[in-house]
Symmetry: C2
Subunit: 204 residues, 2 copies
Amino acid sequence: MTETLEAPGLAIDDATADRLFRTARTVTTFAGSDVTDEQLAAVYDLIKWGPTSMNVSPLRVLVVRTPEARERLVANMPEGNRERVANAPVSLVLAYDPEFHERLDVLVPHLPGAREMFAADDEARASAARTNALLQAGYLIVGLRAAGLSAGPMHGIYDGIDAEFFTESGWKGFLVVNVGSAEGAETSRPRAPRLEFDEVSQVV
Amino acid sequence: MTETLEAPGLAIDDATADRLFRTARTVTTFAGSDVTDEQLAAVYDLIKWGPTSMNVSPLRVLVVRTPEARERLVANMPEGNRERVANAPVSLVLAYDPEFHERLDVLVPHLPGAREMFAADDEARASAARTNALLQAGYLIVGLRAAGLSAGPMHGIYDGIDAEFFTESGWKGFLVVNVGSAEGAETSRPRAPRLEFDEVSQVV
């Protein structure tokens, strides 16, 4: 008998497929252990390599750690998500930088006019900022799990958070993610079903 | 001497960290091997478990495989990306279903009023569709790599693709992803730099 380590159809092992997707869950009750800035930097150093259009990389991250800052964040969450945030060890506000083009001299050396192109086209810039930051948010959620952490993302309209935290940076928040150790963490409900591939796809 | 298999700060091994993010690249020239629908289904069966708001799961996937369909896709790409699409073994059009709420009876059993809530609020529905489908697109790009495939995503305005392929389904395309085997695939340029964690983050 040959032992199969790889998940069927995949090139990664079963335990990793479980850790990243199959058994990972959105956590609502954390065991309370710390999440260090070094862990978060390791996650970023993994997922920063994920692809974005032209490498524009507009994702920005606010790490909300101190009790005082966490209170300010909770006060700006929709009521239904306040307790979740209050109970998390650390929360991240994922944001995009609408002025991401200011860094394209570093990020897009292969296309010298990229900065000026985005500077001149507000609509293209806004679309690229939000679209690519959301792709990067997907990478980041996988990356947190790859570091043994649990990620609890919450989508919402976060103008209040922008006003509270981002008046200087101009960043725009779009997702709040509670982060803690995946060990001992609990979820609030049984896992909900998913649609099958043939229900969400067409082949032409 | 102890052998360290895990990447620093991560709970996955170095080879997997490389495969998913660190050495994976956006491919422009594929070696030409096939990508089967079974492989794509395996990728979906992995990433379908990724979190979305309330589990709304609005991502839809058009697999463009036949020469005739591939020609129709190429004709609707911006000129600068036509050759890339023409040279790929398979391309996916990632889309969202603006009427995703019709499936929430299956997807959101934990919140019986979810379908009606989204039916009554066009703005919330449009925002949830696009935001969550983009998160899922991030998961899918990682999932393709986890299956030993290479993913070449291209962001754009795809009204032409919607008119060509989605008049019946009503889906809205937002990302075209060229897919092929990662083996022997080539990229068009050296890897561009990324920003450091302290350049994209604030800790409060």
